[in-house]
């Protein structure tokens, strides 16, 4: 018997740690991982709310879980393209530090 609010607070904690990591870390791959952490936190919130809605209406509601399914798929596609961009940037600049890649001029 766990209150659903606990799951939501956990989701908020993970999301804010993701925001902090996104703003603080200087390696571009770690920044990308912080984005994935934020997406996962949001997935947890979706599933918790899907459960809450099922309990409110009395029968099983899966729309929140379908949303999580789509988020997972889109995150996979985004990761593939994003990491390809990171590889291309590394080939051009030979560094992974975001402070060195902040100008268009090489």
């Amino acid at each position: 018997m766990v209150p659903i609010a606990y799951y939501l607070v956990l989701s908020a904690v993970l999301f804010s740690i993701g925001v902090a990591a996104f703003l603080i870390k200087r390696n571009i791959i770690t920044v990308f991982m912080a984005i994935e952490l934020m997406l996962n936190a949001v997935n947890l919130a979706f599933i918790a709310f899907s459960r809450q809605w099922s309990q409110t209406t009395g029968h099983l509601q899966v729309n929140g879980q379908i949303f999580v399914f789509f988020v997972m798929v889109v995150a996979a596609a985004e990761t593939a393209v994003g990491l390809a961009i990171v590889i291309a940037v590394f080939r051009a600049r030979s560094t992974l530090n975001v402070d060195s890649i902040d100008l268009m001029k090489l």
Partner: protein
């Protein structure tokens, strides 16, 4: 028992996320994120989403994080250096995230009566329940998503190719 399981895996999630934040070498951050994702899979299972728990392990821990690990290994990413931008980020980043956390936690805790309690074993969403919605009501988004993945594959291959 439900509370014990929730506590263990929630602590693992938060510990992994903090480790992602605090480690200097990206490979340690990647492994911490894998721990977070696997613990989240267990939490999904506790909320009755069994297919999504399996999908989380297969897709996130087993494919997306493998991709991250490969890129870290191939590009031989080393420890992070302290540059001029990082000081500013420390000053703005931690308070901003803390403010966000405070706001969200306040809203969720003040409304905790409205959300109710989750019992283990109720409202289990089987794979057939999910697929019934996915392949009947939401068939168009499903097909569009598969086209999206195809575009992502083409884009990734085109971007990561060596220039000749």
């Amino acid at each position: 028992m439900h509370l014990a399981l929730f506590t263990i895996f929630a602590v693992l999630c938060v510990a992994g996320a903090l480790n992602l934040l605090l480690q200097r070498h990206p490979i340690n951050s990647a492994l911490s994120l894998i721990v977070v994702m696997t613990s989240l899979a267990v939490l999904y299972l506790l909320l009755g989403a069994e297919f999504l728990a399996a999908a989380q392990v297969i897709v996130y821990s087993g494919a997306i994080m493998v991709l991250f690990t490969f890129v870290i290994m191939l590009l031989n990413a080393g420890k992070e250096e302290r540059t001029h931008g990082s000081k500013l980020a420390y000053i703005a980043g931690f308070p901003g995230a803390a403010a966000l956390l405070g706001l969200l936690a306040f809203i969720f805790i003040s409304h905790r009566g409205d959300y109710g309690q989750a019992r283990l074993g109720e409202y289990l969403a089987t794979t057939s329940d999910l697929s019934r919605v996915l392949f009947r009501d939401l068939l168009l988004p499903f097909e569009v998503t598969s086209v999206l993945i195809l575009i992502a594959i083409l884009g990734a291959v085109a971007l990561a190719r060596k220039e000749h």
